[in-house]
């Protein structure tokens, strides 16, 4: 497809924004200035102050000599980039491919977008009038190349829309600055009397390169369409991306449901034809008031089943706040995997195992409502230390690397943190005779011999534990331990678990 680009130039980006934030400054001369080598240098000036002869780069003291009592606003570094990003995000309703063009512009790749707004003329008019009505002094131009659009937006005097293939005619009367050259090269061109592009475009390429460097040729080619110029997009295009603009803003849950269904159907059709399955999906809803709300889902295995994916989104619709209405829905699939076609089972076994599709669908739903971090499956870990004897499994398919040990008794319930108990015992290495836990006395009637568990040598910071299985007079079974040797001053008794 033939590429078309729009370049937007915000002539007074920072001052326009300041005037929007502080209406009392609107229509008055004011400047934005920041410290530079001990002086306050103007970094942006409003139209009214420019009319009085104040320019960017002037010292504030000089400007004050022109206009007494000129309001000076502090310069915030990085503000322009932030503003341009926000404006670019707003422009996403016109095209998904938007790049920030520092220091004061935006570049829009509008290939195949203009006809949706009834032609290029109406499209550009719509963007520029909407931005102007917001209060930004903006100029826009459209051309086949980024370079030509940029030049016409800033220096063009005839018409903003350059028909396909007419870059040369449009550029020929513009000054060399329109080619986005380095200041040194421009100065050299001016010194030699080249005040328009026309005056040097006929010169041999080798001569131009020798005199002005390769950069000039590259910029010329980029403007005329001989060389590609990749844009650094604000939102990198996902391979799987679906958009759904709405004629009327959507405000109801039913409307959102229909939008999600439509997006998912289109997305799944494409995924299916390419043999891919979705792992994560991000829904973004662009609201009339400029806000962006969204929801994201994840699945345990690649899927392109619309019904299942919709059920996952259904759980989150309640959190999508439409406010005044949503005018654009987008759906991205940042993570896709190859899908292996499922074999139709001739005979379904009674218990299906961990790879059953019903179970995976259920876990997807649970995961999206309760959170993936709250769903656990445990595998044995080779450690005697009770807290470290299990580890969470990374995936449902992961098999235990070692067998579960059953040779030692382990309690049914294990306290996350052992709780202190008061103990009476007769002999140093005997199990306790009696212990008090939460104010209740437990007379020990039966007990097993001690099981000494030591931390691994590379973690020798804690004392070892001597565990006893004890049973009280009512038959309640506990797991108690003494940390450290009996003779140690710091040895303490703890209760750690309950046996079945």
């Amino acid at each position: 497809m033939k590429k078309r680009y729009v370049s937007l130039w915000f002539r007074h980006l920072l001052t326009d924004w300041t005037a929007l934030r502080r209406p009392e400054l609107k229509g008055k001369p004011f400047v934005i200035a920041g410290p530079d080598h001990g002086r306050m240098i103007i970094t942006a000036a409003s139209i009214e102050s420019e009319r009085e002869g104040i320019t960017v780069g002037m010292a504030v003291a000089d400007a004050r000599a022109v206009i007494a009592g000129l309001p000076v606003i502090d310069h915030i570094p990085g503000k322009a980039e932030k503003l341009l990003k926000a404006l670019g995000e707003w422009c996403i309703r016109y095209t998904p491919a938007i790049a920030v063009d520092m220091p004061d512009g935006l570049l829009l790749d509008i290939s195949g977008c203009a006809h949706l707004w009834g032609g290029e003329h109406d499209y550009l008019k719509e963007i520029v009038t909407r931005l102007r009505s917001k209060g930004y002094d903006v100029r826009g131009a459209m051309a086949d190349t980024v370079g030509a659009a940029w030049a016409v937006a800033r220096f063009g005097k005839v018409k903003p829309i350059i028909s396909p293939g007419m870059q040369l005619e449009a550029l020929i009367s513009l000054p060399p600055t329109a080619l986005r050259l380095e200041p040194g090269v421009i100065e050299k061109l001016h010194r030699l009397g080249f005040y328009t592009i026309k005056s040097f475009i006929g010169i041999k390429r080798s001569a131009l390169r020798r005199r002005f460097g390769y950069h000039l040729l590259s910029r010329l080619d980029q403007a005329l369409g001989g060389e590609d110029e990749p844009l650094q997009l604000l939102y990198p295009m996902e391979a799987f991306h679906e958009r759904l603009p709405c004629l009327e803003p959507i405000r109801t849950a039913t409307g959102i449901e229909i939008a999600i269904k439509t997006l998912l159907e289109n997305m799944c059709k494409r995924l299916h034809s390419e043999g891919k399955g979705l792992r994560t999906a991000v829904l973004r809803c662009y609201r009339v008031d400029g806000g962006v709300v969204g929801a994201d889902i994840g699945t345990n295995r690649p899927t392109c089943h619309t019904g299942h994916l919709f059920r996952l989104f259904e759980l989150k619709i309640a959190s999508v706040e439409p406010a005044l209405g949503i005018e654009l829905f987008t759906l991205d699939a940042p993570k896709v995997d190859d899908i292996s076609p499922e074999q139709e089972a001739l005979w379904v076994p009674e218990g299906a195992g961990l790879d059953d599709s019903d179970l995976l669908d259920l876990l997807d739903r649970l995961r999206n409502k309760i959170g993936a971090q709250n769903i656990h499956r445990y595998l044995p870990q080779e450690s005697y230390w009770p807290e470290r004897s299990v580890k969470p499994a990374a995936s449902l398919a992961e098999k235990p690397a070692t067998a579960w040990r059953t040779d030692r008794r382990r309690p049914s319930l294990l306290l996350r943190k052992p709780e202190r108990i008061d103990v009476m015992n007769k002999l140093p290495d005997d199990p306790p005779k009696m212990f008090v836990y939460k104010g209740e006395r437990h007379e020990i009637k039966k007990a097993d011999d001690a099981e000494r568990i030591e931390p691994e040598w590379w973690r020798r910071k804690r004392p070892h534990r001597d565990y006893y299985v004890v049973e009280d007079e009512q038959g309640r079974r506990y797991w108690v331990f003494r940390s450290g040797h009996y003779t140690d001053e710091n040895s303490r008794w703890y209760l750690h678990g309950f046996f079945a």
Binding site: L366, N374, Y378, R410
Partner: protein
């Protein structure tokens, strides 16, 4: 005309029919395997441990919760025999997975869901009970209303998954649609020949309420081969049976 004998036949036939209408399908010949509970199973209608229903187990203290999870692990090992996984949903989980190995369960086939609140526990349980691939679903809940238990009942009716509700607050006990209400308490274990040491886990299992069955009380012990009933002896513990 009708003789007293045939009247009895008619009544027992009617009772069997009612059971069938209520969803207690008599086991098919050959499928009768039991769940290894021995005499306890006789308390249920048709003498079969009912699958695809909800059981309620009372465990007000941690000790009872430990005992209950022991009995439950024994039951699950039979239910999971076919390879189906089990879901364990709770808010504040203390269960130690390696302990299930002693009850012939591979702990890696149990999926633990740690919900943030009671509402999520019930929601997760209902969703899980609708899933046909599961062997059983266990949920630890504090409070459940009749309507909520009815929702769970409707979910299991189509999927035939067995559900277990562990109730840890007896003050909030209310009528539910659960088919059986159990209570398990630990009893002192005994080793043969009076040897010292803690024996196999032994419990007092009370079946406090069974729909269409006969409640009762048994002493069971878990041995590596399965449940074993221990004949009643004077244990010195006063039996307090409350029928809810």
């Amino acid at each position: 005309m009708t003789t007293p004998g045939s009247k009895k036949d008619i009544i027992s036939q009617l009772q069997r029919d009612i059971l069938q209408w209520e969803g207690f399908v008599p086991p098919e010949a050959g499928a009768a395997k039991g769940i290894g509970l021995g005499p306890v199973e006789a308390a249920f209608p048709n003498g079969v441990f009912p699958n695809g229903v909800i059981h309620e187990m009372l465990c007000p203290t941690r000790e009872q919760l430990a005992a209950t999870s022991g009995l439950l692990a024994g039951l699950l090992s039979a239910l999971m025999r076919n390879g189906g996984p089990c879901l364990w949903i709770s808010k504040d989980r203390r269960l130690f997975p390696p302990s299930m190995g002693a009850f012939n369960i591979a702990p890696d086939r149990v999926i633990f869901i740690d919900a943030g609140n009671e509402k999520e526990v019930l929601w997760a349980m209902e969703e899980a009970l609708k899933c046909k691939g599961l062997a059983a679903v266990v949920a630890e809940v504090k409070e459940i209303s009749f309507a909520q238990s009815r929702r769970l009942q409707l979910a299991v009716e189509s999927s035939r998954v067995t559900g277990f509700l562990l109730r840890n607050d007896l003050r909030k006990l209310s009528t539910t649609t659960c088919v059986a209400r159990w209570q398990v308490r630990p009893l002192p274990g005994e080793l043969e020949d009076g040897l010292p040491g803690v024996g196999y886990p032994r419990w007092q299992v009370d079946l406090m309420r069974v729909r269409n069955g006969s409640p009762g009380s048994w002493v069971l012990e878990w041995r590596p081969e399965g449940f074993v009933q221990i004949e009643h002896k004077a244990t010195g513990i006063t039996e307090t049976r409350q029928v809810g």
